[in-house]
């Protein structure tokens, strides 16, 4: 094919040549291809979508033409979607076509590579959480949280239909949870927070036997490291409810282990390792205790052995899944985010435990230092919460937050507006070299 394919009709990705087409038509006894379409005249379509065909070069140019309309901003943005430096080797290895173009591992004998990579991914999450069972991916943190809520309905020891969530929760995450809650008829209720932390007393007061799940996060959506998670776990325990903890694989390299604070399920988004900024593209992690194994949603890779007695890996406990259990499945999930999990595993392995811990510590000191610098800027008080922060923090601005966001955008920077006079700032190593200029810009617009 060629650039000059602009004039060619047909798909460049369909190898049949005209003579082959003729031979094949003859073999099936058809006069032409159209006669193979068993479509009644009354619903037939004339094929004219009105979509122009383009050469590969022109298509790339067209995509570039569209995407170049995006402004070139330095993003101090987080709130669930984070930019960490992704090493080039992640792209290289994950892009190998044997991984990228393969299917779900229904024939494990020719899918040992991907299965082992997913088994390793699951193992990394087990280490990070201290829990027993990680599935090999959900779509994102929000859908993983939704699945956790529905999990609570499948557990015999749990009764009730109340799901308690923090009042500070990303809107999008809560909205997804509401949809997952709709089928089983769960009610999603907020509990209050105090200075960025769970208000334990208020939570305890609200909890009763009708609570199916208590959800908390660390770090919170505002970047605060939670300090009384054990107490949250106890409240959940006292209500015979599931304790679901939202976190992040980088944070988990440093923070206390979810297992040690009584978490029953850990959800969160793991795409911050391996993917970087991609308009919200995520990787839901879902890790839980062994006792809930048969109720876990999503795919699980297990070790087994082959006929030669060697260790081998396979998808297992598939009777939980929709393609076998149909309407009694633990979830409707089929296509998941396996390849994103592969990337996360590669990135985590590239960092190694020390690298992960170093990165996590940088996520503590960097926002701390940046907040301190911004606090010196006239018109800014940062951070507004007392606790330790991870990657991000909220600052109060004398000017309206919307105006700050706009003025900063005009100067090439993006931050969140999270209240009338509250902005949220996220800082990682990828913005390291821009911090000085950012502080200057804030000083220009905040006064």
């Amino acid at each position: 094919m060629s650039e000059s394919d602009e004039s060619t009709t047909g798909s460049p990705y369909a190898p049949q040549t005209p003579s082959e087409t003729a031979a094949m038509l003859s073999a099936v006894g058809a006069d032409d291809v159209e006669s193979l379409f068993d479509v009644p005249e009354s619903v037939a379509f004339d094929g004219e979508f009105g979509i122009e065909s383009r050469s590969e070069r022109e298509t790339r140019r067209e995509a570039a033409r569209l995407l170049k309309r995006n402004d070139d901003l330095t993003e101090f943005l987080g709130r669930g979607h984070y930019a960490h430096y992704v090493p080039a080797v992640v792209d290289d290895l994950s892009s190998r076509s044997e991984f990228l173009t393969s299917y779900t591992q229904y024939q494990p004998e020719v899918a040992q590579g991907f299965l082992q990579a997913l088994f390793e991914f699951q193992s990394m999450l087990v280490e990070l959480t201290g829990l027993d069972v990680a599935n090999c991916s959900m779509y994102d943190d929000a859908t993983a949280l939704g699945e956790a809520a529905t999990l609570s309905q499948r557990i015999r020891s749990i009764s009730g239909d109340r799901v308690l969530v923090p009042e500070r929760l990303r809107d999008g995450k809560r909205a997804v949870l509401e949809n997952y809650a709709d089928g089983p008829g769960l009610s999603i209720e907020s509990y209050p927070m105090a200075d960025g932390q769970v208000d334990i007393d208020a939570l305890a007061e609200s909890a009763d036997e009708d609570v199916a799940m208590v959800y908390a996060e660390t770090p919170t959506v505002r970047g605060v490291v939670a300090e009384r998670l054990g107490d949250v776990g106890e409240v959940a325990d006292d209500s015979d409810a599931l304790f679901c903890l939202g976190s992040d694989p980088v944070a988990l390299a440093l923070l206390e282990r979810p297992a040690d604070v009584g978490a029953d399920v850990v959800v969160g988004d793991a795409a911050s390792l391996g993917t970087g900024t991609a308009f919200g593209f995520g990787l839901g992690m879902f890790v839980t205790r062994e006792e809930f194994l048969r109720q876990v949603p999503g795919r699980l890779v297990g070790a087994s052995e082959d006929a030669a007695g060697r260790r081998a890996y396979t998808l297992t406990l598939q009777t939980r899944e929709q393609h076998i259990r149909k309407e009694r499945a633990t979830s409707n999930i089929c296509t998941n985010q396996a390849w994103v999990a592969l990337r996360t595993a590669i990135h985590a392995a590239w960092l190694g435990p020390q690298g992960l811990v170093d990165l996590a510590e940088d996520c503590v000191t960097r926002p701390r230092d940046l907040a301190a610098r911004l606090d010196e800027v006239v018109g800014v008080q940062a951070p507004i919460h007392d606790g330790h922060h991870f990657r991000e923090f909220v600052a109060h601005t004398d000017q309206p937050a919307r105006a700050i966001v706009e003025d900063l955008a005009a100067r090439g920077f993006a931050v969140h507006a999270v209240g009338e006079h509250l902005i949220q700032v996220c800082a990682t190593e990828v913005t390291a070299e821009s911090e000085e200029a950012f502080i200057e810009a804030v000083a220009e617009v905040a006064g």
Binding site: Q16, A30, L36, T59, F99, T143, G172, V301
Partner: protein
């Protein structure tokens, strides 16, 4: 070929000390693999060599549409200016929104739908979105309903989705031709019917010729018609769900529009609806306004089905594929997909009931065990079809070659089918011989689940 676990090659335990957090907020230690980059590269390179993808050979999994994934779409998705944070001010991501809007428009044209959301991150998520829209529609009409009708040959996700959305599933038996039994349908639908979920052509590769009557029956009962887009590659340019009377549909971009399956995901499952249902679409939706493009909340939006805007990089690849092929290319893809399926069905010696086929067919391996036959096909260097499903065909080999196979490749595939068809049960039961792993014990895996290296213990 065997590759040790990363943890067996280079494990390291790190103590957490002198961290910037107080001790009570930190863990004590972290134990994870610590390979240097050369070891890391070799590990994953070797793993890749133990994996079969579309670029390794034919991959005729029925209903999965494992077509070739054009390289250049990866290049487009990897553009720096495609990597924006979802919370940026809209005015600064006009490029991203413009591409979304364009893709919404493309998909609408292809499916004959009036509005399309890109948010659902997979086909099953698309189904959930569609069924929640149907639910919202009925609620909006103060007409809550309790049942979803699904043919027995439908994808498992349809059943699971309906249940997840809180509906009772009414399973519809197929008729002797492998299609929807219209009488049975009439009997099944009623005022509790929220929707009928249908794939067309169905999983046997058969077009539901009575689709207009089917639509009327469901609509007359006040139900909606949901189109499962898994098999859309069979119809591009020849028929559109919207024209057949479907009210809601999802598109599997990783099937129809050649975005790679990635070993099980990510995919994307955009959902198209008629104008009447557009007000229920997920929040937010992209529209064009005088100043450019913007997100808005549809009037009676069902809310969200993904934390942000779905699987963006996958959507970019689908956009690139559609923009490359255009009308002619898309129509040609379906033409060759259908001819390939018909040709392959004609070449093999296994019985192939039903027909005429579109993009896939279901052969019967009986009296062989279809799963065993599939394992034996691995020894011929090709990937086998989907097995033992749909159950409507005894020992099913559900086969979808896609347009990406040449005649030469189909002939090789047919030779593999035919060689396996000749073999005795003992040979099949001990297959495969050739891949790195021999037959893997599923029972042991499920009976004593070991789901992490920590669980391997000894």
């Amino acid at each position: 070929r065997y590759e040790p676990l990363l943890s067996e090659k280079a494990d390291r335990e790190v103590e957490i000390e002198d961290s910037p957090l107080p001790d009570e907020l930190t863990r004590d230690s972290l134990s994870l693999p610590d390979p240097a980059e050369p070891e890391l590269a070799r590990h994953y390179t070797r793993l890749s060599q133990m994996n079969y993808g579309v670029e390794n050979g034919p991959f005729p999994l029925g209903s999965c549409t494992m077509k070739y994934n054009p390289s250049f779409t990866e290049t487009v998705a990897a553009r720096d200016d495609a990597a924006v944070h979802p919370d940026r001010p809209e005015s600064t991501i006009q490029g991203t929104l413009a591409l979304c809007h364009r893709l919404q428009d493309y998909l609408g044209r292809i499916g004959g739908m009036d509005a399309v959301t890109l948010q659902p991150p997979a086909g099953a998520a698309g189904e959930f979105t569609g069924i929640q829209i149907a639910k919202a529609y009925h609620r909006h009409n103060d007409d809550e309903r309790s049942e979803v009708v699904i043919p027995d040959s439908a994808h498992g996700t349809n059943f699971a989705t309906a249940a997840m959305a809180g509906y009772e599933v009414v399973e519809l038996p197929s008729d002797d031709d492998g299609r929807v039994d219209v009488d049975a349908l009439s009997a099944a639908v009623g005022e509790e019917t929220a929707a009928l979920m249908l794939t067309n052509p169905n999983t046997l590769g058969l077009f539901e010729r009575d689709i207009e009557e089917i639509a009327d029956i469901v609509h007359d009962a006040g139900g909606l018609l949901y189109y499962d887009g898994a098999n859309l590659n069979a119809l591009l340019g020849r028929a559109r769900p919207g024209d057949m009377g479907f009210d809601v549909m999802h598109y599997n971009v990783h099937k129809t529009f050649a975005t790679p399956h990635g070993g099980g995901g990510p995919g994307a499952g955009p959902v198209g609806v008629t104008e009447e249902l557009a007000k229920f679409l997920p929040d937010p939706h992209v529209r064009e306004v005088s100043s450019g493009y913007e997100h808005y909340t549809p009037e009676h939006s069902i809310g969200k089905v993904h934390g942000y805007y779905g699987n963006w990089p996958v959507l970019v690849k689908a956009f690139a594929y559609i923009a490359r092929l255009g009308d002619d290319g898309l129509a040609d893809a379906s033409a060759k997909a259908v001819l390939n399926a018909n040709y392959l069905a004609e070449q093999i010696s296994y019985d192939v009931p039903f027909g005429p086929f579109h993009h896939e067919f279901v052969a019967s391996a009986a009296p062989q065990d279809a799963a065993d036959a599939a394992k034996r096909m691995l020894d011929h260097g090709v990937h086998p079809p989907t097995t033992k499903w749909p159950e409507i065909v005894d020992e099913a080999l559900m086969t979808e070659p896609t347009e990406a196979e040449s005649k030469r490749s189909l002939d090789q595939l047919a030779a593999a089918f035919d060689a396996v068809a000749e073999e005795d049960d003992a040979t099949l039961a001990s297959a495969p011989e050739r891949p790195a792993a021999k037959r893997i014990d599923q029972v042991v895996a499920a009976r004593e689940p070991r789901l992490s290296w920590q669980a391997l213990g000894e």
